[in-house]
């Protein structure tokens, strides 16, 4: 049964060889003048300093939570989108209701200021003090 997987192994091999070849080519052909900034993992991003245990804003958690919920909406939308032309108006109405309910949730969360990145009117900040 392993014959079925042969193309995958071939692909893996090709990818490995190609990657090595390109790295070697750029190393030998290109100029190599390292400095601190260039060697950082994220050359133009955040400084990766500090410990993993640093506390950061609660806003990240809130946005993450909301992301999970709205992300899952797509799970229902995709199968429906593939089939909805065959399914009649009933499913269209049902899906509209579903989206409207989620939209109400979005309005609620906007109104409550969860998506505000401006920390000044963030009510959880008040709790900390």
């Amino acid at each position: 049964m392993f014959e079925q997987y042969l193309p995958i192994f071939v692909l893996l091999g090709v990818a490995f060889v190609l990657a090595l070849a390109f790295m070697a080519l750029s190393r030998f052909l290109g100029p190599y003048r390292p400095n601190t900034v260039k060697l950082k993992p994220y050359e133009s991003g955040m400084d990766p300093v500090g410990q993993a245990k640093d506390r950061y804003s609660i806003a990240f958690y809130l946005v993450a939570m909301e992301f999970i919920v709205f992300d899952l909406e797509v799970v229902f939308l995709y199968p429906w989108a593939v089939r909805f032309l065959d399914m009649g108006t009933g499913t269209f109405v049902a899906m509209t209701v579903f989206i409207v309910i989620l939209f109400i949730g979005l309005i609620y969360t906007l109104k409550k200021g969860t998506l505000d990145w401006d920390m000044k009117n963030f009510k959880y900040e008040a709790l900390k003090k």
Partner: protein
């Protein structure tokens, strides 16, 4: 395709869900908890009217067999909505005192009620699962309302972890049943079921999930902690509406999915669980010094009495369970209501039984009502609790389960001790120091009075010539 008829058959649930959306929108835009409160009361009341109307209508299935309407489901919806209505009406004053009064609470209560309504009418394991989760997830939030108190956060965490754990069992059970029968519809499962290992495992796990939710021993551990750490009126909501909805779903599963004893001897399992639940619930309740915790164990014990009706497995048993749920909702909402009234005067530790000393004479109407509710919970005639117990135990005798009925009667006799103990403190102990009790608000007081009147009225109604409630319930099982 009769889309509108389908929607109409789940009208109470839709009304409640729309009211819930309205409640949180009002909170977001108007910041007015009172408006949300009015919308909540209005929504539940309208839904209740439609549910009562469908009590007398015909029964059938809708949404391609996903839900049932009329009959058992309609009665379950009425009980759930009654529980929700009473808990909301007593919540406002109590939550205001705790500084927790906001629109989201009502939104959560309404969404949870939507889940319960779905649970009470589910005819399909998918509907059952989604409704149960809608109900539970909102209840996790409600359990954590006092999130800045340690015990509030603790009760929410315990409820959430154990609830999610039990969800795993429930879902695994559903998956195995689906694997054994290739169906999720309860009646289709009944038609396709064979007593294979797979099917028995699946049903067993499904039962474990449901036992968790109704707090049957040995899956009751979360109950006292959660009930104690939750605001009292919300506890009333959990103990009445949520428990009723889950029991109605249990009745639907037993009658529609497991109608014949050829696919597993589930009645024996229920008997064992019923005996354990009654004994453990009552025994531990005897040792409680906190009234709220005592009521939590008493609610476990009541789950045991209800389980007796399920174990009887005959028409009288299921009818008895439905009647008992109605009775339990009325008297337990009332008991928690009076406790909430005493509690909110002096903060959270005012649920210890010592602090009840001499309280009965302070605001006489409250003391009398607490006595009525506790008498009813103990099953002393002429209260509704006695009638409920009578129906359930009579059904067990009728099914030939005489030892089970005897254990039930003995357990409920033992329970009289801890209910009466509260009354002894209320009336026969000297108060340690002078407390001043606030006068209860209009809505709060009259809700409790209505509950007390109903407790007594339905205690004598079965012997009146106009008796109708039990006949109505029985008619669901004889057709």
């Amino acid at each position: 395709m009769n889309y509108l008829l389908d929607l109409q058959s789940f009208l109470p649930g839709i009304i409640v869900a729309v009211a819930g959306l309205a409640a949180i929108m009002l909170e977001a835009f108007k910041k007015s908890a009172n408006t949300s409160f009015s919308v909540t009361i209005g929504g539940i009341a309208v839904a209740l009217l439609f549910a009562i109307q469908s009590l007398y209508g015909e029964a059938g299935t809708a949404f391609s067999g996903m839900i049932v309407y009329g009959g058992v489901g309609a009665f379950g919806s009425v009980v759930v909505l009654l529980g929700a209505l009473f808990c909301v009406t007593i919540s406002r004053e109590y939550l205001r005192d705790l500084d927790l009064h906001n629109g989201e609470v009502y939104g959560m209560i309404l969404f949870s009620t939507t889940g319960m309504l779905g649970l009470a009418v589910s005819n399909d394991l998918i509907t059952l699962f989604i409704s149960l989760e809608t109900m539970s997830i909102c209840l996790y939030v409600l359990a954590g309302l006092m999130k800045n108190e340690k015990i509030g956060a603790e009760s929410a965490l315990k409820y959430f972890l154990l609830g999610a754990f039990s969800t795993g069992f429930l879902l695994y059970g559903i998956a195995l049943i689906y694997g054994a029968t290739a169906a999720t519809n309860l009646t289709e499962i009944a038609a396709a079921a064979q007593p294979t290992f797979l099917f028995l495992c699946g049903t067993g796990l499904l039962f474990v999930g449901l036992f968790f939710k109704v707090a049957a021993v040995p899956f009751h551990m979360w109950t006292p902690d959660v009930y104690q750490g939750t605001p009292t009126t919300i506890t009333a909501f959990m103990a009445t509406a949520a428990k009723s909805a889950t029991f109605v779903a249990f009745v639907l599963v037993l009658t529609r999915m497991l109608p014949s004893s050829e696919i597993g001897d589930w009645q024996s399992v229920l008997q064992v669980v019923a005996i354990l639940t009654m004994i453990v619930g009552n025994l531990i309740a005897l040792a409680q010094d906190n009234v709220k915790r005592m009521l939590a164990y008493s609610s476990i014990a009541h789950a045991g009495y209800l389980m007796v009706g399920l174990a009887a497995g005959n028409e009288a048993g299921y009818a008895g369970v439905l009647y008992y749920l109605f009775a339990y909702t009325i008297m337990n909402a009332g008991a928690f209501g009076v406790i909430a009234y005493y509690e909110r005067n002096h903060g959270l530790d005012f649920t210890e039984i010592d602090s009840y000393a001499g309280l009965g004479f302070k605001v006489p109407v409250m003391g009398v009502m607490l006595s009525v509710f506790l008498f009813s919970l103990a099953g002393i005639p002429p209260m509704v609790g006695f009638i409920g117990k009578y129906y359930v135990f009579a059904a067990a005798v009728q099914a030939g389960l005489i030892p089970l009925a005897i254990i039930g009667v003995l357990a409920s006799a033992a329970s009289v001790y801890y209910y009466l103990r509260v009354m002894v403190y209320l009336y026969f102990k000297e108060a340690h120091k002078e407390y001043s009790l606030k006068t209860p608000g209009f809505l709060f007081k009259w809700t409790l009075i209505l509950l007390a009147v109903l407790t007594v009225y339905y205690g004598v109604e079965p012997v009146l010539p106009t008796s109708s409630l039990m006949e109505l319930i029985s008619s669901y099982y004889t057709v």
